[in-house]
Symmetry: C2
Subunit: 440 residues, 2 copies
């Protein structure tokens, strides 16, 4: 077998990158659990029927088939392309065994048959949180999920050096109410065109609104004026009111969005923005919508998106409304690790290498290692009874900070300091115990 | 959408089962890292060329194809059916960036299109450790991986109540040397028939050896006598010697197996057995072979198997010998969780529910929760300002042990005890902080 080549779109980390990923995932899980989210994992496959329900995404699905199975659409399976479809199915399947509101997090790979490019992969890891209710779900959960995600991303920033983020938030009710207050019936048609603002600019959007939808120039300008509003605090409310449109749904949306921005700014100052042009496409969102950019990596697009859906799932009798966000872990980490922005302080968990004097005394080295591990110190025994210089080089190549000698001494190979030590008592400095994430 | 049904062979856990799985996986990872194994993850897919190299398993492979891709064998992908094939590919692909001997653990789902039955799934989780060398790999690593796995499984037993195991170990060199010492050339043919002992019994195997291979009755009896030997210590060596066969390869195998059993018995007394009938099929193993049964669940077959392979991977110039073991995590956990042998002490991470007096004072409850979380206490705020009795019931249904009142008191809802408490100082007993694995 000649040396295999990487598969485009299927990124893999070397051990150092994986250590960064492990720390980041542990940090996310810790935040989610501090907020009472329970972990679930769903199977990698869903029925094609379930995956293609929404229609629009079917070309990206990977179909899965046993090698010798006959091609047969019935009961066919595909790899999940997000964690929302599987979660909705899990909720319906297990509704009798869950207690609502049900708060879950889910960190798993997803697959999309897209053309790979920077920030877009065929296999990538997502970290989702959602809160789902039975029949109803209070609006304060929209506030809560934003706060949890901002806290999680801020922890990644302060603890591991992941760049800071800006979360942009909007509310579908706000826009719908505003358009209705202007006498517009087909609010989705307007939203669809306003969604193109970043791509084609305000004058072109104005043309679409007047030419395609037949809005008056004045009404179109009002729509553009709404979309131009953004603020890091509640001041957007006043600016919307200054546009002089009144509608109950608009008021509801304003109040909900103000609550999200107020709480988000308190949880992570400077990281949240009400941005009234955010639409998040035309999919199932019905209230709050969120998207998030990472400072210096705006070209990657949103690294964390989500929203409120009044019918995450429904079995015909009961409807399950939900609100949630999804962090694109691979989209965040692959560029940071590839550029060396994030790295690991060593490439192995090992803190101590126990040197071996001679193969005949390997058992003694093993016994020392066992005593160190019993106190939680990751320890390896040298694989060969080479000269000590070579054993120290073995440690050095892996970044292992300490080498232990059967003579009862431990050497910090970075400083060269060597001191007598007792394998039942010696402890490394806490920072040396595990590999750390370091900024390149 | 009506209620979906589970897919046979694709097990999923409810949140309590997932908590058990999380703890078990964390316990395994902790042991592996204490021994210096670095985590890696590989992509879910490999090229079909890579997956079907060994030929025998191809009918179980799941092929993966984009929905609108044209059927085209070239460059086709399949889901990995174990973690050894992907690891071998990873080692070859990254050999220039790894340092050898390379110690890795890998905990990932694998997929096989087999007919589902108890203990056999189409999607299941494996936890593998392997040590791989460049050109050579010392025999003491065969000892080491057995010790690490026994330590890991013993920890699952003592900390989480997973049943104890017995690991059966043999050595291919020992058998090959013995057969050669008897004048047999085709040792694999003998091994293949001896491997049927458990299924068809000694007299039938003897018939196969004499009738199909033309061995004399005396030689066949010697082969059966070897296979009948087992011991929890090194005494098997003496019993093999009593059979009066001498061969260098036999001696090498005896010494290697004795070292594994000696170290294994020291690491986890009573959990390892030299068993000279263990063959592990005819695949790539070339030295030590391991298989493991769980007490009371012997009908599931081996829950942890592996061995030494002198050529885990090769790029034509360099050969990478390896030794490793794979724990069938799903095979272990699904029956234990389904039977209720293992359960979680609660179904959410949450330790404290902060009650809400009225929706107008939700922000005060949020502030209390933030103070508790700042000290690492998983905390939720009640979703509705219901009567306190109903809020306590919310906690009770999830197993949340404490309810916090804005009045500055905390109630242990199990005992009913309610005491004044300061959100900046109060700590629950350590056992209550996180959900625990409990024995049903």
């Amino acid at each position: 077998m000649s040396r295999p080549k990487p598969l485009s779109g299927f990124p893999e980390f070397l051990p150092a990158g994986r250590i960064v990923e492990q720390r980041v995932l542990a940090g996310l899980a810790e935040t989610f659990e501090l907020h009472g989210f329970a972990s679930i994992e769903t199977r990698a496959v869903e029925t094609m029927e379930s995956l293609t329900r929404k229609g629009e995404i079917d070309k990206e699905v990977y179909v899965v088939r046993r090698l010798h199975a006959e091609a047969d659409a019935a009961g066919e399976l595909g790899l999940h392309f997000d964690l929302t479809v599987p979660f909705a199915r899990y909720v319906l399947e297990n509704s009798g065994h869950l207690v609502f509101p049900f708060r879950r997090y889910q960190i798993q790979k997803v697959w999309r048959g897209e053309r790979p490019q920077e920030g877009r992969y065929r296999e990538f890891l997502q970290a989702d949180i959602d809160i789902v209710g039975q029949d109803t779900l209070a609006a304060h959960h929209d506030v809560e999920v934003a706060r949890v995600i901002l806290e999680a991303l801020e922890k990644l920033h302060t603890e591991y050096g992941v760049p800071p983020v800006v979360m942009r938030v909007n509310n579908r009710r706000l826009a719908e109410g505003f358009y209705r207050g202007l006498g517009i019936d087909d609010h989705l048609a307007v939203l669809q065109r306003v969604d193109k603002l970043d791509k084609i600019g305000p004058p072109a959007v104005r043309d679409l609104l007047t030419d395609e939808l037949g809005l008056s120039g004045e009404v179109a300008d009002q729509c553009l004026a709404l979309a131009a509003i953004s603020s890091p605090d509640e001041s957007f409310v006043e600016r919307v009111r200054e546009l002089g449109v009144s509608n109950d749904l608009l008021e509801e949306g304003l109040a909900q969005l103000a609550a999200v921005v107020r709480a988000g700014a308190a949880a992570a100052p400077g990281r949240i923005l009400a941005d009234l042009k955010i639409a998040r496409g035309l999919d199932y969102y019905t209230g709050t919508v969120y998207e998030t950019e990472m400072a210096g990596f705006e070209h990657l697009g949103s690294i964390c998106s989500g929203g409120r859906y009044d019918a995450l799932a429904s079995d015909g009798r009961t409807t399950y409304p939900g609100v949630g966000l999804s962090i694109g872990v691979t989209r965040v980490l692959v560029p940071l690790i590839a550029k060396g922005t994030l790295d690991a302080s060593r490439i192995v968990p090992t803190c101590v290498l126990v040197a071996v004097d001679a193969e005949e005394t390997r058992a003694e080295a093993d016994a020392i290692a066992t005593r160190l591990r019993a106190r939680g110190i990751p320890t390896e025994v040298a694989p060969r009874a080479d000269k000590f210089g070579k054993q120290i080089r073995y440690a050095d190549r892996r970044g292992i900070p300490y080498v232990w000698f059967a003579s009862g001494e431990v050497k910090d190979i970075r400083s060269g300091e060597q001191v007598p030590a007792d394998a039942d008592a010696w402890l490394p400095p806490a920072d040396d115990l595990r590999p750390a994430v370091v900024r390149g």
